[in-house]
Amino acid sequence: MPGLGTSFGRGGATTSQQDLANADAILIMGSSMAENHPVGFQWVVEAKKRGAKVIHVDPRFTRTSAMADHWVPLRAGSDIVFLGGLIRYVLENGREFREYVVRYTNAPTLLREDFRDTEDLGGVFSGWDDEAGKYSPESWLYEGAKPKGGEPGHEPSGSGHAKERGGESQDDLNPSPRDESLENPRCVFQTLKRHFARYTPELVEEACGVSKEAFLRIADVFSSASGPEKTAAICYAVGWTQHSTGAQIIRAAAILQLLLGNIGRPGGGILALRGHASIQGSTDIPTLYDILPGYLPMPLFDAKVDTLAEYIERNGAKKGWWNNIDKYIVSLLKAYYGDRATAANEFGYGWLPRVTGDHSHQAYWIEMADGKIEGLFVMGQNPAVGAPNSRFGRKAMAKLKWLVVRDLVEVETASFWYDSPEVARGELSPGEIGTEVFLFPAAGHAEKAGCFTNTQRLLQWREKAVDPPGDARSEAWFIHHLARRLKARAKLDPSPRNAPLEALAWEYPTLAPHHEPDIETVLQEINGWRVADRFLVKDFTELAADGSTACGCWIYSGVFPEPGHDNNKAAKRAPEDFYGRGWGYAWPLDRRILYNRASARPDGKPWSERKKLVWWDDGARRWTGNDEPDFTKSKPPDYRPAANAQGDAAIPGDAPFFMHPDGMGWIWVSSGLKDGPLPTHYEPLESPVANALYPKRQKNPAAATLERPGNRYAAFPDRRFPHVMTTYRLTEHHTAGGMSRTLSHLAELQPELFCEISPDLAREASIVHGGWATITTARGIVEARVLVTARMPSLTIAGQIVHQVGLPYHWGSRGLVTGDAVNDLIAFSQEPNVRIMESKALECRIEPGRRPRRAGAVEKLERLMEEPAGNA
């Protein structure tokens, strides 16, 4: 989420799917929306009917391209060059929305003298430390800003989900030095111009393989949808995020949209298309290691935040919304520890575990491989085929003492000990695997009540229809009854470590017939209440820092303002307007389009009749319009904060991005990202192509390869793995297939794993359509049917032909239809900000025929790895 979070203030899609219908142009990139979000795509079709131009940029001609007005194939992993090219095109041709840029973004803000750009330092920004392998971002700060508390920069253990050290760039400044003429060479605007000066159409052609003509046509179409009368939207998905530069690709899109004035306005915005029912929700209320609900950071051991005061001082901000962090963390602790959380014990802050390192998925999986993890819970996920380097992952699971899997069917994660490829290949055998496995039947979506948060931050409640079959139960039931047992045990053993467990507030009424916890009481706890009388709070503005309120997730506060099912706003089903107010609940405070203050001019009047959304009603002295204003309703456009005003009071009436201390949209991110204040093109961790911009910096220096036996990489260059490989989903299946391979009506639609290759590659490698091919990377080996198609073009990069191999990743060893797990080919790797793997651009080799059976497959791989990489 930090790509969006650092740019605008919140790590969520800025717009809603319906609003795409209002766009004049839509750029879909890093996503095949028609294939993976078909029902959401109806709004793109709606926009087409209203005359919008749809652009799809993707290595493959997909079902989305088939519906687009423009499609250009680009080389997987060259996205920042393409977007940088668009940014340069806008700047060079004066296509930016000038007044928006000057008034609503930090483009005019001046930067420090000592900042050095990648263009000056051959591929790194100032502050890079080669030994430590990380940045000290002090020189990225605004001019005159002081780093706050101790040495600047990020603790390595921290991750980008949290608003870490939020706003250090602004606190001591009021206001920051700006040059609204945008002429000052040290202002963000000029720095941006210099930074992207080399991202020319020629470079785009050389690095992306996109013809100059095609690029210029698209640049013109997209940047024309800007200004008071027009807007353009951008849709992306994991085609952008699953890269070693993932967050920065999204940053590039954010910069482009800020320059074109497309944030907070109808038909504008950036729509992040999430792939799971509640992936947004599972970040808002995280099952992640580095944050607490509502994007509050977990206490980092290295950050020396041993006391609550230190935590608030470090993570709060004097200006902007994060000034309220004390209220939110204290209310959360009250929700967690109830009466046992008192001012005397810092509300139990000391009981929270400290983050002492990288505890993210891939990191702890490596610890698992080293035998450091005893037990693992897996709920509704299937890492044995769904996680990167699943071959490494399955072997790691064999080192566990015990494993608990909860799912609807017996997934590969539960059965790895007897039917994984490793068993077939003789690498593992049940007799040698000491892992104790518990496989629990889980309840399906219609067999339990609860809410998902969809891709546009909308909480939608599901009513329970029927009881789950047999011993199937919900995750809530499992956790509740596990908690009961453990707390009972903790009572008997009052050691310090058991204090938090014992203190944990856990009184949820249960319902017949299975003693399922009453989920609405949990949602009420998330909404928050006054501790004294348990009156539910209206919303997070009622939360206090003195322990008088409890709230499980401040950004969701307001979803359940009064008792009774009728007041469960997530369950509301009476849409009143186009944006669907009255249907579900969009955080925060039911606002459907974020930062919509920007849909009005600085003086509060709409930019245009055609694109009006919210505006200042001078008579009523309040903001009003077609959506909930994402702004303090009573704050007039001409409001100017008093010197040393704090919190929201420090935000002027014409600053739409009020989560930020300066209330501006951040073209420049001086704090919060670990790999630079601006996006820069680096090649993927595995690439057959040299970095056309920075020969000395082939790949993102801040990204981690986690290279080790079992997680090997191709060399550069590497003739063993000459082709670019990318993975994707098909409409007919879901992720690794756990919810689709067992369904006959889906399985028959895509019954076999196949690879898509160009006729050129087929000829070159003498592979026949409809036959078999074996695809190998430094990690693994799979076989697939061959679909030879011109939809998967080979591209000319820097004068040489680069072939791309496309692989959907839905198959595994179980289900009605089976196939090799493509994730065996993907490497563990970490984008620096969110530690996501790079699965969208790797290097592979492809040969005709099926892979060897049994042990032969591994032998083939090992023989290949012994060959010299040589020169490609």
Partner: protein
């Protein structure tokens, strides 16, 4: 109901082999395996090849009983007609009786054959729920019912008549039944041609006007053959045999001379071979044997045998040709461009 296919090497080889076959023949009608996937590499769809060259039509789902039924029903029907004709012309009563019994035998055999082909045999009576003049299958069903009843009634009455040593009312009844069986019998001999002709399958509907006459001639030929083989050698039968054979020669000649992609299945492959064999056996061969056999009973019986064999081949061949024809999308896609349909829709 779902079949799971574990892609092990054995099943893969089977599949590849089937794909090769499909590539050669255009389709493999086999459970679980479809013509799809072949031929490789895939032809891209075009106005010329249609959708990846896949069939437009569905193949007939009929089982082996159907052509046999066409043969038996036709022969029996023609027999009934002959017996009636013989009776009216005051020919030898023994001949009439033989013909009646052969017809009755065929009439008894036909329904089981037809019923065993049904997907839901237990529902065969539904054939009598309605009477649809525009449905050859419905007309045929009613014809079969009428024919089976009348033909067996005629034979039975004949039996009773002889037991009682001649009783007028019974003989009247027998003759009435005989007459009815003659009319419906002629229906049996011809309607199967209409049944095939009035379908969407090019090789069949292109011969809508030929098939009924063709099947009738073939039915007459086999009827004559059956009666002769049962020990008769009347000159009249031989004359009728000659006539049937002559008609078959005409039909065969016309089929051979007509051209067109939709007629290919009638001339090539297994179906073509069967149809040609049938044509030769019941046409020139039968004709020659009768013409040059003079008064030789053996030659006439040989001719009768040839006609029977030919008739069977013809029925099997035409049904097989329908399968082949249904697999070829080209005539279906381009039909009607040059030809305006005879008769039209009244």
């Amino acid at each position: 109901m779902t079949r799971e296919r574990i892609p092990d090497d054995a099943s893969e080889q089977a599949l590849d082999e089937l794909r090769r076959e499909a590539g050669a023949r255009g389709a493999v009608p086999r459970d679980g395996i479809r013509p799809a996937g072949a031929p490789f590499p895939m032809p891209s769809p075009s106005a010329e090849t249609g959708y990846y060259g896949l069939p437009v039509l569905k193949e007939p789902t009929w089982t082996w009983e159907v052509p046999i039924y066409f043969f038996v029903g036709g022969a029996a029907g023609a027999c009934a007609a002959l017996s009636a004709a013989a009776r009216w012309t005051g020919a030898d009563a023994a001949l009439v009786r033989k013909a009646r019994w052969i017809a009755a035998a065929g009439a008894a055999l036909s329904p089981p054959l037809l019923i065993s082909d049904l997907g839901r045999p237990e529902r065969f009576l539904n054939m009598l729920r309605v009477a649809k003049i525009r449905s050859p299958m419905s007309v045929g069903a009613w014809t079969l019912v009428a024919f089976s009843t009348s033909a067996s009634a005629a034979a039975f009455a004949d039996l009773v008549d002889r037991r009682l040593g001649g009783s007028v009312p019974v003989r009247v009844l027998a003759d009435a039944a005989g007459a009815l069986s003659a009319v419906t019998g002629l229906g049996m001999a011809t309607y199967t041609g209409v049944l095939l002709g009035a379908t969407a399958i090019p090789a069949w509907y292109e011969n809508a006007a030929v098939l009924p006459a063709h099947f009738a001639a073939s039915a007459l030929g086999s009827a004559v053959g059956l009666i002769e083989l049962s020990g008769r050698s009347d000159r009249a039968l031989n004359a009728l045999g000659l006539a049937a054979a002559a008609a078959e020669i005409v039909v065969g000649a016309s089929l051979e001379t007509r051209r067109g992609r939709s007629l290919e299945p009638l001339k090539t492959g297994r179906a073509g071979a069967l149809i040609r064999a049938g044509g030769v056996l019941s046409g020139p061969l039968a004709f020659g044997l009768r013409l040059f056999g003079g008064r030789s009973i053996t030659m006439r019986r040989a001719a009768g045998l040839a006609a029977l064999a030919g008739s069977l081949c013809t029925r099997i061949g035409w049904v097989a040709a329908g399968h082949v024809s249904a697999r070829d999308p080209i005539p279906v896609l381009n039909a009607g461009e040059d030809r305006d349909v005879e008769g039209g829709n009244d």
